[in-house]
């Protein structure tokens, strides 16, 4: 989220695509409906399904699943045609919009209707509504991201905001609603396969930075990783190679060894706090689980991992404590950190995740190194010490100012924070934004208030203002990538500038502002080459901000991402497309290999499944359940509300097949899986479209596997997992799985 749920109070219109917050983020509707009711903000919802959120909309746009880029270009076509774009904003703060404009010109209302199914007249109305009601906020969720061109969809949404100049203005922005309580934080602190904490990446410099923070030698870390030979026969450390994504671990087991870029196949899988039934291709997953040497589940509930396979040995279930049985911080969607108190001691024999990690570190022989800066009481690491270590290392995105003491102060004084600006009005945290939304620059002692709205130049950086980051050099194709005639209020440099280094401070003559301690800390890292993100003293950030500058530079946003497969976002037909006529015009990618595994695109799209599997299948959330659903289906209050796994079918399709409401049906997948679910006849889905929720598990292709759970730990409600019938397809940059557009065949059971 570039802003916050609360800042939506300032929106003049809401553009929501591929999201259903009325069910997935119900309390967020408080804020959305406030904009709608108080500001009279038009509420536009784009979704293949008429969701409970769409029921609140002023304008509902039903697009064919997987055609988001075409839809957005269809809106921008009217914007450019009528000259509604924000020309000043684009000149000052955007690079590459002319290339986007050239692509958009191809998307005439006729072509957009042919691809998306949305009439040109409706999109003209949407374009005019957005142009007339600025700033508007852009909101998206999984409906946009979970596609094999997910990164294209996302960048198309960003371009809509950039073209109309609503990025960096309160009431505007891209407010991306995240799905879990700490999916934002876990991403920030490096939970993914392709970066160390703070998005430092995996390059040698990143490892050296973190080795410095951890107080261990870089060579020690290097020695822990395997070394392989590169193409020229030189040694290469696996430490700099992105791991396999969780969406693909099954292929790390099943793929032939010679096809994967690591020394051996995966042999052990440990699911710590992760459901398996949220991942696609569960028929392949079952096979992968059965082939492993070792499968371990660490979770408060057994999860579907306990029962999906037919293993008889080599499976362990370890009871983890819930978030209510320990302390710690979580980062909400708006980047605010909130501190949880411990409600109760861990139940039964459950242990906290940090204690479980300690026990394994001890067993595996590196506990002393791992906990060098972190106190351990018995076998329980001190959580506050872990946050202090995060504070000492995560300079890139400003996770440095949020000390445990400041976070606890905010929680204790919640009532002092304004409900719209999130800023404390008086009280002990006066001037801070609630939860110190990152970036909260510098050390905790510097008392930066956090940044409620990103890239907002109307505030000084010291007050939560910002500009776009200079992260891609200063020039491209002979054009200036730095901002022009735009800077955060109070900046002493009244122009664009690159990121700060010690050398730059010296050139500006600002290095005299550094304290002796800061200067020697900077010297110790890399002398003049030390930059704002590797300086462990925070001195460079402090001085840059004191002069009104953003430590990360002041540049233009990129409309065109030249390092991605499609620099200008393009529409490409889904791998399992129902429209063979469009596959020729908008084909997918060639097969490639990245992140250690082969990734198929063309090989799959070349096969025509549309005759035998004529119905589009999409999936999503319900208000009663969350994620894989193991926790919530084990909760009696919630389980009572939602007892049957179901499929939504349009009455037209159902009547043609003789399917009655409430009857059981089979849904068949082109990859061979099938599920047995109850039919719900509804116009929420259009003709030729079926929808299933993804929270169910415990049934597999018609078989109730309840007896396989450990006694007394089976959820109250079981059902088929939609991902038993979802299919292959991974994003061309991140290997995000395709869950929103595939094909299926519906049959009476």
């Amino acid at each position: 989220m570039t802003y916050s749920y609360n800042d939506i109070h300032n929106s003049r219109a809401i553009f929501l695509i591929g999201g259903n917050p009325a069910e997935a983020h119900p309390v967020s509707l408080l804020h959305l409906l406030r904009a709608k009711e108080v500001n009279n903000a038009p509420f536009i919802v784009c979704d293949p399904r008429f969701t409970r959120t769409a029921a609140h909309a002023d304008e509902y746009v039903r697009l064919r699943s997987g055609t988001d880029v075409a839809l957005i270009w269809g809106i921008l076509w009217h914007v450019f045609e009528n000259g509604w774009e924000d020309k000043d904003f684009i000149r000052q703060r955007v690079w590459g919009m002319d290339q986007v404009k050239a692509e958009v010109a191809k998307w005439t209302p006729e072509e957009v209707e042919r691809v998306t199914g949305v009439p040109g007249s409706q999109l003209k109305r949407v374009a005019r509504t957005l142009a007339n009601n600025r700033p508007f906020t852009i909101i998206w969720c999984m409906g946009g991201t979970q596609h094999h061109i997910g990164n294209n969809n996302v960048r198309a949404y960003c371009n809509l905001g950039l073209a109309l100049g609503v990025i960096g203005t309160s009431g505007g922005g891209t407010n991306i609603f995240r799905g879990h309580d700490n999916v934002q934080g876990a991403t920030d602190v490096g939970g993914g396969n392709d970066t160390l904490p703070g998005y430092y990446g995996l390059i040698e410099g990143a490892w050296k930075h973190w080795a410095r923070v951890w107080g261990v030698e870089y060579d020690y870390i290097l020695g822990r990783f395997a070394t392989v030979k590169d193409k020229e026969g030189k040694d290469e450390s696996m430490s700099t190679k992105a791991g396999m994504p969780v969406s693909r671990w099954i292929d790390g087991v099943l793929e032939a060894k010679e096809n994967i870029d690591q020394p051996d196949n995966l042999r052990a899988m440990i699911y710590q706090g992760h459901a398996p039934n949220s991942q696609t291709r569960m028929t392949d997953m079952k096979e992968a689980m059965e082939k492993l040497d070792l499968l371990v589940v660490i979770d408060p509930y057994p999860t579907v991992s306990a029962i999906l396979h037919d293993r008889t040995d080599g499976v362990y279930l370890l009871p983890a404590a819930t978030q209510f049985e320990t302390v710690g911080s979580v980062t909400a969607s708006n980047r605010s950190l909130q501190w949880r108190e411990k409600v109760m001691e861990p139940m039964f024999e459950c242990k906290t995740d940090q204690e479980i990690i300690y026990l394994f570190a001890q067993k595996l022989g590196f506990a002393d190194e791992l906990f060098k800066n972190i106190a351990v009481n018995g076998t329980e690491p001190v959580v506050e010490d872990i946050l202090r270590e995060i504070n000492r290392g995560m300079w890139t995105i400003g996770y440095t100012g949020q000390s445990p003491e400041r976070l606890k102060l905010h929680m204790a004084n919640q009532y002092t924070f304004d409900r719209t600006t999130l800023r404390a009005v008086g009280g002990p945290a006066d001037g801070d934004y609630y939860g110190l939304p990152w970036p909260c620059w510098g050390t905790p002692e510097m008392k930066h208030p956090g940044t409620a709205n990103l890239y907002d130049t109307s505030l000084p950086v010291a007050d939560g203002g910002l500009c776009f980051r200079a992260n891609f050099g200063v020039e491209r194709d002979g054009q200036n990538l730095l901002a022009e005639d735009s800077w955060p209020v109070g900046s002493e440099i009244e122009d664009g500038y690159p990121e700060f280094t010690m050398a730059m401070l010296k050139e500006l003559g600002w290095d005299g502002d550094l304290t002796a301690e800061e200067r020697s800390a900077i010297e110790a890292v890399a002398g003049d080459k030390t930059n704002w993100k590797t300086d462990l003293s925070g001195g460079i950030q402090r001085v840059a901000i004191a002069h009104g500058c953003a430590p990360f530079g002041n540049a233009k946003a990129r409309s065109v991402v030249w390092n991605f497969p499609d620099p200008v976002p393009l529409h490409r037909e889904p791998l399992y497309s129902p429209r063979r006529d469009l596959v020729a015009d908008y084909p997918t990618y060639e097969d490639r290999k990245f992140w250690r595994l082969p990734v198929l695109y063309k090989t799959i799209q070349d096969q025509d499944f549309s005759t035998d599997f004529p119905t589009i299948l999409t999936s999503g959330r319900l208000v009663e359940y969350e994620g894989g659903g193991d926790e919530t289906r084990s909760n009696p209050w919630l389980a009572e509300l939602q007892q049957d796994m179901f499929v939504e079918i349009n009455p037209y399709d159902a009547n043609n097949k003789g399917i009655r409401d409430g009857e059981m049906v089979w849904i068949h997948s082109p990859e061979g899986g099938k599920v047995n679910v109850m039919a719900l006849l509804t116009d929420r889905v259009g003709r030729g479209v079926a929808f299933m929720p993804f929270h169910f598990g415990g049934w597999y292709q018609g078989e109730d596997r309840r007896s396989r759970y450990p006694s007394g730990a089976d959820p109250y409600v079981l059902g088929e997992s939609v991902n038993t019938v979802t299919t292959y397809g991974y994003d061309s940059v991140t290997q995000m799985q395709e869950t929103k557009t595939t094909l299926c065949r519906i049959e009476k059971a």
Partner: protein, 212 residues
């Protein structure tokens, strides 16, 4: 299954009519919660209410200092709603939504109103368990950590540290998730990942590469 209860006919302005009735005074808390709960509050509000009422009844008969309020945050989506947990003698007996939180302003959804049961749930995994010959067998933590650890070291010896995939989690706190990432670095593999991959990885990549 969710079934639409109304006939799809607009019944007048939603929020404003609820508020008008509220100011007329003839509305009890239960009705208010139900009406202000958008489309989602009905049963959820009832759930909150019942546990809240139980607590209040006890509070009248028991000494007031026996119920402590602990502040937590709901774990079911990213809004970050404050949950006020009512605890007596180490037992979580009731919950209320945080009215002071600028995020939820006293609101909860069905899931948020039911989180107490998430911790106190009787269907939880209760002790380390191992599958032996197709049957689940209770074991000790010591045995579990030793057996799993030995197996991991054996795999490492033969196939290298990359033969192990160990997920991180969006359900962990920042501290747990960070510690886990660091743990994987010390084990020696990047084969770790979490729900963001299948949730907003394309957003993070797309947005980071556009804004910087």
């Amino acid at each position: 299954m969710l079934r639409k209860k109304t006939g799809g006919v607009a019944s007048g302005p939603r929020l404003s009519s609820a508020l008008t009735q509220l100011t007329n005074g003839a509305i009890d808390r239960r009705t208010f919660l139900r009406r202000s709960g958008l489309t989602i509050g009905g049963l959820a509000a009832a759930t909150t209410l019942s546990s809240g009422m139980v607590t209040k009844a006890q509070a009248q008969t028991a000494p007031s200092d026996s119920v402590e309020i602990r502040k937590s945050v709901c774990g079911h989506c990213s809004v970050g709603c404050t949950v006020l947990a009512e605890v007596t003698k180490g037992v979580w007996i009731g919950q209320e939504p945080g009215f002071d939180s600028p995020f939820n302003l006293g609101a909860h959804c069905a899931k948020g109103a039911a989180v107490r049961e998430h911790a106190h749930g009787e269907r939880r995994l209760k002790y380390p368990t191992k599958l032996v010959g197709g049957k689940w067998q209770r074991i000790s933590w010591d045995q579990a950590v030793n057996e799993i650890g030995d197996k991991l070291l054996e795999i490492r010896e033969k196939s290298g540290p990359d033969a192990v995939f160990w997920t991180n989690s969006s359900k962990m706190s920042n501290e747990q998730s960070y510690l886990h990432r660091k743990f994987m670095a010390f084990w020696g593999t990047n084969n770790t990942d979490h729900q963001a991959r299948i949730c907003h990885s394309t957003t993070v990549a797309g947005v980071a590469n556009t804004w910087g």
